[in-house]
C-alpha cells in the first residue's frame, strides 16, 4: 500500500499552489523604494582591445544617475575559481582575473564593459547607446585546436590558452597505454559533447541595496546558493564583511547549474547601490541570458576501449579538450576533471582508466556545470564507445554491459577511476529495464515501423553518477577551495508547529514538500505544521546550495541530524514531565511515552513546556526547542540506472522521432516518488534535447549564431514520448541516514547516449553503415551521414 504521509508518500507539491497561480515572488517582482535600474553595455565583438570608453554623453542623458566602467573596479578582486586543478607536470592551473566589468580587453560577445544606472530602464537603455566605446577588434579564438596551437591569447598575461593539462589517474598512464597496445581488440571513437545554453525560464536578475546608517548591504538575486554568493562577494570580490551582507534568493525560476555561480552583475548592483544610496535592479533580457549565462558541456573527446577476446573490458583511455570559455566560472575547473574523470570507470570492473583533459580558454561565454556536470560527458563517452565495441565484436549490447558490470557482492567497490562505490545492483536495473521497456516486443515494433517506411532502432545505456556532493575532506585533497557540507535548523515553536531552515535552495525541486515529509515521519506529526525556510542568509544557518543532486542526501541528512537532536531534547523534557528517565521515553505517532506504562505526553505538550518552562529543571535543560546540525557526507552517493530508447528515423528526411523512452534508476530510498518521477521526466527532456535538437553554434568570429529561440531549439512537449520511469530497484546508500542518493540529474545523464545509440541502431538496421553522429542528431546530420555512408559503399 502506498503511504499517504511521511517518507514514501506522494503528497502534491505545496509550492505549486503559488507557482501555478502566478503568485510566486521572483527577483524581478520585487520593487524596493526608490529603486533604480541598471543596463549593461556589452561587447558586440568576441575579442578586442578597449582603447577608450567615453561615457560623458551618457552621463548627461535624462534620468542617468551613474555610469560605471572597468576602471571603477580595478581595485577590487576578481570572481574566483572554486577548485584548483594541477596539471600533470605539477603546475597549478592558470587563473586569469575575472573582473566585475571588462578592463583592457573584451573577451566574448556579451562581455560587459560598462553599466548605466538610471531612473527608468528605458533611460538606462538610451544612455547605454550613447556610450562611445573605441574597441579594436582582434581575431577571435573559437576553435579549441586553434586555441592550443596558436599565439593569439584570450588572456595575454598567461601567454597560453591552456588552463591546465590534467591526468587521471596519472600513475595508471603507462599501464593503460600498454593494455591498449596489447589488447585483442580496441574500439576508438571521437565525439563531441555539444555546448548547451541553460535557458532557465527566469532570466538572471539582481537587486543591490545599501543602508548607509548601518553599512548593511542586501542582494536579492537569482541564485541556487545564496550563501556561496555571499562568501564569494565578501571574501574575494568586494570585501563586504559577511555579517554586513544579506543575500536573498526568493523564488527562482530554474537554474540547471547556471545560477550556482556568482556573476559580475551582482557585484555591480551592490557597488552602485552604495554609491547612489538607492537600490539598483538589473534583469537580464533573453539575449543577455544566451550570451552571458554560463553554458554547459562543450567537450571534444577521443575515447578508446580495450577488450579481450571474451569481451572483458581491459582499459578506457580518453583524451578530452574542455572549453572553459573566456573566463573561469566558479566550478568550471571541477566539472571536466573531478566530476568527469572520476566517473570514467562507469558501472564496470575495468581495471585501468586514464583520462587526460586539457581545459582551453576561448572567446566564448564561460562554460560551467549544467545539469549532470561532467557526469553526462563521462557517461556519453563510455556508453557510446561500449555500444560501438558491441557492434564491432557482434555482441549483444546488453550482454556486453552485463559481462562487465560490478556485481552486487563486490561492494564496497574501488573503481579504477578512484572512487569507492558503496552500493548498487546493475543487473537488477537491467532486468527491470528489459521488462519495463518491453525489449521482447521490439522486433515486432521494428517490423511495424518498416511497414511504415521508417527505420526503428533500439538503444541501451547504463550509467553511474557521483552525487550528494560532497565529502569535504576528500574534495579538499582534490583541490576544492570550499567545503561541501550543508546545514539545517529545526525550530519547534511554542504552539507545536515547526520552521525548518535549510541550506539547500529550492527552485523547482520540491523541497518545501519533501523535507517536511522527512521531519513528519521522524516526529510522527502532521507535515502540514512544518514549514520550510530557505534562500535567505539572514534566516538560515548556512548552506552550500542546490546542485549535484545533493539537497536531500546532504541537506536532508542535516535535517535528520537536527531533528534527532530535537527528539533527544524533547525526550529529556518529556522524561521530566512524566517523572521518568529520558532513556525510558519512546516517541511514536507524535506521543512521548514511558516504556511499559500508560503515562504519556504529546509532542505539542512538550513544545509548550519548552517555551513555558514552569516546573522545569533549568539547571539540566535549557528552555526552547531549536536545534541546528551541519552534515558533511562520508562519501559521494552513487545513483545508477539502465535506460532504453526506441527511435524511428525517416530515411528520406533524416528526421528522428523518439518513440519510447524508459528510465530505470536506483536512487536508493525515495522520499516522494511523484517528485522523483517529475525530476526524471525533466532530466529526460533535457537529455533528449541535447541529443537531438540543442545546438549552440559560434561562427569563426565568435558570434553566437544560436542566440535566440529562432535558432536555438528547445525541446518541446511534442518532441517527447510518454516516459516509462521506474525506481523500484533502489539499493540504499550505506552512509547517510536516509539511504538516499539523489535524482536531479540522472535523466540528463542517462538519456543522451541512449538516444544516439538508438539512432545508430536504426541506421545500421536500415542497411546504412553509420557508426557515429555527433549531437545534436539533427535531420540534416542524419541525412548527411547516410549520404556519406552510401558514397563510401559505392
Amino acid at each position: 500500500m502506498p503511504k499517504d504521509t511521511g517518507i514514501g508518500a506522494s503528497p502534491v507539491r505545496r509550492e505549486d499552489v503559488r507557482f501555478l497561480t502566478g503568485t510566486g515572488e521572483y527577483t524581478d517582482d520585487i520593487v524596493l523604494a526608490k529603486q533604480t535600474y541598471a543596463v549593461f553595455a556589452r561587447s558586440t565583438v568576441a575579442h578586442g582591445t578597449i582603447k577608450s570608453i567615453d561615457t560623458s554623453a551618457a552621463e548627461g542623458m535624462p534620468g542617468v544617475l551613474a555610469v560605471f566602467t572597468g576602471e571603477d573596479f580595478v581595485e577590487v578582486g576578481g570572481n574566483p575559481a572554486g577548485w584548483l586543478i594541477n596539471s600533470r607536470n605539477g603546475e597549478p592551473m592558470k587563473e586569469p582575473k575575472r573582473p566585475v566589468l571588462a578592463h583592457g580587453k573584451v573577451r566574448h560577445v556579451g562581455d560587459a564593459y560598462a553599466a548605466v544606472i538610471a531612473e527608468t530602464i528605458e533611460q538606462a537603455r538610451d544612455a547605454v547607446e550613447a556610450i562611445e566605446a573605441d574597441i579594436d577588434e582582434l581575431p577571435a579564438v573559437v576553435d579549441m585546436n586553434d586555441a592550443l596551437s596558436g599565439s593569439n591569447f584570450v588572456h595575454d598575461e598567461i601567454e597560453t590558452n591552456q588552463c591546465f593539462d590534467w591526468g587521471w589517474i596519472e600513475d595508471n598512464r603507462d599501464a593503460t597505454d600498454n593494455a591498449i597496445k596489447n589488447a585483442h581488440h580496441v574500439t576508438t571513437l571521437e565525439l563531441v559533447n555539444n555546448r548547451l545554453v541553460p535557458n532557465a525560464m527566469e532570466p538572471r536578475a539582481s537587486i543591490g541595496s545599501y543602508k548607509a546608517s548601518t553599512g548593511e548591504y542586501t542582494l536579492h538575486t537569482t541564485s541556487q546558493n545564496p550563501h556561496l554568493t555571499r562568501l564569494l562577494i565578501s571574501a574575494f570580490v568586494l570585501g563586504i564583511p559577511e555579517n554586513m551582507l544579506t543575500v536573498i534568493a526568493p523564488d527562482v525560476g530554474g537554474g540547471f547549474g547556471s545560477k550556482i555561480y556568482h556573476y559580475g552583475e551582482e557585484a555591480l548592483v551592490l557597488a552602485a547601490a552604495k554609491k547612489l544610496g538607492r537600490p539598483v535592479k538589473w534583469t537580464a533580457d533573453r539575449t543577455e541570458s544566451f550570451l552571458t549565462d554560463a553554458h554547459g558541456r562543450d567537450h571534444v573527446t577521443k575515447i578508446e576501449l580495450a577488450l579481450d577476446k571474451e569481451g572483458n573490458f581491459l582499459a578506457f583511455r580518453t583524451d578530452t579538450k574542455a572549453n572553459v570559455g573566456a573566463y573561469l566560472s566558479n566550478f568550471s575547473t571541477a566539472t571536466p576533471t573531478f566530476l568527469h574523470g572520476t566517473l570514467m570507470a562507469g558501472n564496470y570492473t575495468v581495471p585501468l582508466v586514464y583520462v587526460n583533459v586539457k581545459a582551453v580558454f576561448t572567446n566564448t561565454a564561460p562554460v560551467d556545470a549544467y545539469r549532470g556536470a561532467g557526469r553526462p560527458e563521462a557517461t556519453y563517452s563510455l556508453e557510446r564507445v561500449i555500444d560501438k565495441a558491441a557492434r564491432e565484436l557482434r555482441m549483444d549490447p546488453i550482454e556486453l554491459r552485463r559481462k562487465n558490470f560490478i556485481k552486487p557482492d563486490q561492494y564496497p567497490y574501488a573503481s579504477a577511476a578512484g572512487l569507492e562505490y558503496d552500493a548498487g545492483n546493475y543487473d537488477a536495473l537491467m532486468d527491470k529495464m528489459e521488462e519495463v521497456a518491453d525489449v521482447a516486443g521490439f522486433e515486432a515494433r521494428r517490423k511495424q515501423s518498416e511497414a511504415n517506411g521508417l527505420m526503428r532502432g533500439f538503444g541501451v545505456n547504463a550509467y553511474i553518477e557521483a552525487c550528494g556532493i560532497a565529502p569535504s575532506n576528500l574534495v579538499g585533497v582534490l583541490g576544492s577551495r570550499v567545503g561541501l557540507y550543508d546545514a539545517a535548523t529545526v525550530r519547534v515553536n511554542a504552539t507545536g508547529n515547526l520552521s525548518v531552515m535549510v541550506g539547500a535552495h529550492s527552485h523547482g525541486q520540491g523541497h518545501e514538500t519533501a523535507f517536511p515529509q522527512v521531519v513528519a515521519e521522524m516526529l510522527g506529526i502532521d507535515p502540514a505544521v512544518i514549514d520550510i525556510v530557505h534562500g535567505d542568509t539572514s534566516k538560515i544557518p548556512f548552506g552550500m546550495g542546490t546542485y549535484g543532486s545533493r539537497s536531500l542526501a546532504v541537506c536532508g541528512s542535516a535535517v535528520v541530524r537536527a531533528t534527532e537532536k530535537i527528539i533527544n531534547k524533547a525526550k529529556k523534557i518529556a522524561g521530566h514531565m512524566l517523572e521518568a528517565s529520558d532513556q525510558d521515553i519512546t516517541l511514536e505517532n507524535g506521543v512521548f511515552s514511558v516504556a511499559g506504562t500508560d503515562k504519556s505526553v504529546t509532542f505539542g505538550e512538550v513544545a509548550l513546556k519548552a517555551y513555558i518552562p514552569h516546573e522545569y529543571p533549568l539547571e539540566d535543560i535549557e528552555p526552547g526547542l531549536e536545534e541546528t546540525a551541519f552534515y558533511d557526507p562520508a562519501n559521494f552517493t552513487y545513483p545508477s540506472g539502465a535506460y532504453a530508447c526506441e527511435v524511428e528515423v525517416d530515411p528520406e528526411t533524416g528526421k528522428v522521432r523518439v518513440d519510447r523512452m524508459c528510465a530505470v534508476d536506483d536512487f536508493g530510498n525515495v522520499i516522494n516518488p511523484m517528485i522523483v518521477t517529475g525530476q526524471v521526466h525533466g532530466g529526460l527532456a533535457q537529455g533528449i534535447g541535447q541529443a537531438l535538437v540543442e545546438n549552440t553554434s559560434y561562427d569563426e568570429n565568435g558570434q553566437l549564431l544560436s542566440a535566440s529561440y529562432m535558432d536555438y531549439t528547445m525541446p518541446r512537449a511534442d518532441d517527447m514520448p510518454m516516459f516509462h520511469v521506474d525506481h523500484s530497484q533502489g539499493t540504499p546508500c550505506t552512509h547517510n541516514p536516509l539511504g538516499v542518493k539523489g535524482c536531479g540529474e540522472a535523466g540528463a545523464i542517462g538519456s543522451p547516449p541512449t538516444v544516439v545509440n538508438a539512432v545508430i541502431d536504426a541506421l545500421q538496421s536500415g542497411g546504412t553503415n553509420v557508426t557515429h553522429i555527433d549531437m545534436p542528431v539533427t535531420p540534416a546530420r542524419v541525412w548527411d551521414a547516410m549520404q556519406n555512408a552510401k558514397s563510401e559503399e559505392a
Partner: protein, 260 residues
C-alpha cells in the same frame, strides 16, 4: 523599444492617410514587428494598426475564388475550410498565440523567406489586392523580405483561386518552426503549380520542372530523375544547401501523394 505614435484607423481611406506621414509603419498582427521593436532594431515614428480597418476584415467566397481580408488572422483562415489546404497551412503557423494575432496581409507584406503564406499565394496563383492595385502572385514576390509593394501601400485582401486539389508539406526548422522547406502544391484545370518556401536565398519560388512533370503525370514518381540545384539554396546551422535541395523534392513528392 523606442517611443512612437500609434494610430488605429477604421477605414482604408484613413489608413492610407495615416501611412502618408513620415516614417509611418503599418502594423498587422505584430508577430514580426513587435519583437523587432522590442530589440530596438526598428524606430518608426508612427505605427498604423490595421486591425480595425473595416474593408480588410472577413473571408468570403466569390465564385471559384476565396477572398481573405488582409487583417484576417491565421486562426480565422485555419477555421474557415473553404480552401482546405490553405486552412491546413494556416493551422501550422506558429502557435495559438501567433495564429490569433498574426495576419495574412502582414505575412505577405513582410515576405519572410521561411514563412508559409508566400508558398500558398504563389502556389495558388493568388492575386494580392492592395490600396492601389491588384498584383499577381507571380509578380508580387521579389526576393527575401522584398515585394512589389510601394511605400505606404497596404495589402487589403488576397484572392485565392480554389484548386481541384492541393496540399502543403512543411518540414519545420526545429527552433523557429518556420519552414526549413515548405512546398505548396495546387492542381488546377490549366495545370499544376508548385511553390517552395524556406529553401532559397531568393525567397519563395516556383519549381517549374516539377510543375511540368506533374502536369503529365500527377504522381510522386513523376519527380524521379528531377532534382533542384543546390546553388542558391540557404545554408545555415539547421541544414546545408544540398539538404534543402533534397528536401524540396521529398516534400513535393509527399504533397503530390497527399493531394491525391
Amino acid at each position: 523599444m523606442y517611443n512612437f505614435e500609434v494610430e488605429k484607423p477604421g477605414t482604408l481611406a484613413e489608413a492610407t492617410a495615416a501611412m502618408a506621414g513620415e516614417d509611418a509603419q503599418a502594423l498587422g498582427g505584430g508577430q514580426t514587428l513587435i519583437p523587432t521593436l522590442k530589440q530596438r532594431l526598428a524606430s518608426p515614428a508612427k505605427l498604423v494598426s490595421l486591425s480595425g480597418v473595416a474593408e480588410m476584415q472577413g473571408i468570403s467566397k466569390d465564385g471559384d475564388a476565396l477572398r481573405i481580408g488582409g487583417a484576417t488572422t491565421h486562426g480565422a483562415v485555419a477555421a474557415d475550410g473553404n480552401y482546405p489546404a490553405l486552412s491546413a497551412l494556416a493551422a501550422q503557423i506558429g502557435d495559438p498565440a501567433v495564429r490569433n494575432r498574426g495576419t495574412i496581409g502582414g505575412s505577405l507584406a513582410n515576405n519572410d523567406p521561411a514563412a508559409c503564406y508566400p508558398a500558398a499565394a504563389l502556389g495558388s496563383g493568388a492575386t494580392i489586392i492592395t490600396t492601389n492595385r491588384e498584383i499577381a502572385a507571380d509578380d508580387y514576390f521579389q526576393g527575401m523580405f522584398d515585394t512589389a509593394l510601394d511605400e505606404g501601400e497596404i495589402v487589403t485582401a488576397v484572392s485565392f483561386p480554389i484548386p481541384q486539389a492541393a496540399n502543403y508539406q512543411k518540414f519545420v526548422q526545429p527552433a523557429s518552426r518556420f519552414a526549413l522547406v515548405g512546398v505548396f502544391l495546387a492542381k488546377y484545370a490549366d495545370g499544376i503549380r508548385v511553390a517552395v518556401t524556406g529553401a532559397s536565398n531568393e525567397g519563395v519560388f516556383r519549381w517549374a520542372e516539377a510543375e511540368a512533370a506533374l502536369g503529365d503525370d500527377f504522381s510522386a514518381s513523376a519527380l524521379d530523375g528531377l532534382s533542384v540545384p543546390a546553388d542558391n539554396m540557404i545554408s545555415d546551422l539547421h541544414g546545408p544547401a544540398a539538404y534543402r535541395a533534397h528536401l524540396v523534392k521529398v516534400m513535393t513528392g509527399r504533397a503530390v501523394t497527399a493531394a491525391g
